[in-house]
């Protein structure tokens, strides 16, 4: 965060920003189909954050208040395993989003998010989304539907993975029996 950015935000002076939040939002698949008025309303409620390489976006166990959408760079989702090692669950690229469970419940973060290289993400948080839904119910519904769809597809993928595990175990057991 440099002084010019603060100055620009506070008094509207200083170097002009290259890209507005609205530009970022309209390019995201999550918000495709929103009208320009809806995008303007959403723009007022989100925050663009910039991260250095290796900077933590949120930590496993932190209270969760909302979700982030990757705008540039990459963000890895990591979990601590019992022997103090960290495993990378996924690497998210522009357009992907993370922490969406924080919008749905108050449970602590289930994983740690770390920036891989200089990255940017847009943050959308529970109280703002609540306000947005109260004042623009249609917009709130569209956002919740998008996030819900994504959660469903992730749950489906997780189910498929789970189904594969017993089969893999079965084939391991069968293989051992043949030996």
């Amino acid at each position: 965060m440099n002084l010019d950015a603060i100055w620009s935000k506070l008094f509207g002076k200083g170097p002009a920003a290259e890209k507005t939040l609205g530009d970022y939002l309209s390019a995201l698949p999550l918000f495709q189909g929103l009208s320009s008025r809806e995008l303007r309303a959403l723009e007022q409620q989100v925050y663009l954050r910039r991260y250095a390489d290796g900077e933590v976006i949120f930590r496993e166990g932190d209270p969760s208040f909302g979700m982030y959408i990757v705008v540039s760079g990459a963000i890895s989702i990591e979990r601590r395993v019992p022997d103090e090692r960290r495993i990378i669950l996924a690497t998210l690229l522009p357009g992907d989003f993370l922490g969406e469970m924080g919008l749905m419940d108050d449970a602590p973060r289930s994983a740690t998010a770390v920036a891989k290289g200089p990255s940017e993400a847009i943050g959308l948080f529970g109280p703002e989304l609540q306000k947005l839904t109260q004042h623009h119910p249609d917009l709130g519904l569209k956002i919740f539907t998008s996030v819900g769809r994504s959660l469903c597809s992730r749950l489906r993928r997780a189910n498929e993975e789970l189904q594969r595990i017993p089969r893999a175990q079965e084939s391991v057991v069968r293989g051992a029996g043949h030996e």
């Binding site: 506070l10 933590v56 932190d62 109280p127 623009h136």
Partner: protein, 352 residues
């Protein structure tokens, strides 16, 4: 390599230094900050209206212009409607004033006669002399203070120009100011600070709504009560008591004193005076033991007993400001304390 726990100490030091700097700045600038503080409060109260207008399709600037325009029209309308009524009331008062003055003089004379009968050692001449001396001193002192008074008037005028001007910019730029401040927050504390701001905002807006509801109830109870027992200008006295009730306890006292004074001057020392005291005390009892603990404790999320303690201690330590700002300040302090404790606990649980 700095550990998260060391980082927490560094951050705590930075926050402490910032708080001290802001505190010193506020102490140093003192009264100069008053228009800014009032403008912040006014903008905070008016912001929901601007946002409501924005949702109806107006741009931010157009919404603020509409608000100012509406306020100017409402002010003009009120003046047009109220000036004739106040004028009539004043002419009634002007007609009654000699009567009130005569009554007051008669009462004072009878009091003086009683006093002289009981304490003959006090000579009337001395009393008159001391009154004259006091009056002369007062006039001389007022003349001496005239330049200061004019300067104060200038400050007052500048406040009335500055406050709407600062409020205007705050209303237009509030979103950018909030985002600008949040941009300066390090990523590691961003979510916690954002959540803290939401909770503080919710707490303050609830408190403000509670205060308005309380003032309304006290105003209605006083107006109805004084009117029912036949106090002249009972409605007006009730409205004044309600407005002043934004300072807890002062509203009912002002209402009761004014109602008692008007009753004595208009009707005399009759049973109505006792009724005035009873109405005033009833309003106060209902306010202090039912409305305040219910509304204030709910809106500030504090126990009713804590609210009463804060009102007492705040009033004792900081006077009127302590009573007005004590409860919201303690409510905000509680939220900030809880957030700080949550951060410390989280970091303590992590390996060093």
């Amino acid at each position: 390599m700095i550990t998260p726990r060391q980082q927490l100490w560094v951050d705590a030091g930075v926050v402490a230094a910032l708080v001290i700097m802001v505190g010193l700045l506020m102490y140093g600038l003192g009264a100069l900050l008053l228009p800014f503080a009032i403008a912040c409060f006014v903008a905070y109260v008016l912001l929901p209206i601007v946002e409501w207008l924005e949702r109806r399709g107006l741009t931010r600037k157009a919404a603020v212009v509409a608000l100012y325009g509406g306020f100017a029209m409402a002010l003009a309308g009120t003046l047009v409607l109220i000036v004739p009524v106040v004028g009539r009331e004043l002419s009634v008062l002007r007609q009654k004033l000699p009567q009130y003055s005569d009554k007051a003089q008669t009462r004072l004379q009878s009091l003086q006669q009683d006093f002289e009968a009981k304490f003959p050692e006090f000579e009337q001449a001395n009393l008159a002399e001391s009154i004259t001396k006091k009056a002369t001193d007062t006039v001389a002192s007022a003349l001496q203070q005239l330049p200061e008074l004019l300067l104060n008037l200038f400050t007052l005028a500048s406040i009335f120009v500055l406050i709407p001007l600062i409020t205007w910019y705050l209303l237009i730029e509030s979103r950018n100011i909030k985002k600008g401040v949040l941009e300066a927050v390090p990523n590691r504390h961003f979510e916690s600070v954002l959540n803290l701001l939401h909770r503080v905002d919710l707490n303050l807006s609830n408190y403000l709504a509670g205060q308005v509801a309380e003032s309304l109830l006290v105003g209605i109870m006083s107006a109805v009560g004084y009117s029912l027992i036949g106090v002249p200008f009972g409605m007006v006295i009730g409205i004044v008591a309600g407005v002043i009730n934004i300072i807890p306890y002062v509203g009912f006292i002002v209402g009761m004193v004014v109602a008692a004074a008007v009753t004595v001057l208009d009707i005399g020392f009759t049973i109505t005076l006792l009724h005035v005291v009873m109405v005033g005390l009833s309003v106060h009892i209902v306010d202090a033991f039912v409305i305040q603990p219910t509304i204030l404790s709910r809106t500030a999320n504090l126990h009713p007993l804590t609210v009463l303690m804060v009102l007492l201690i705040g009033g004792h330590l900081f006077g009127v400001w302590g009573v007005i700002l004590g409860v919201p300040a303690v409510g905000v302090g509680k939220i900030v304390g809880q957030a700080a404790w949550a951060i410390v606990s989280r970091h303590s649980a992590e390996p060093a």
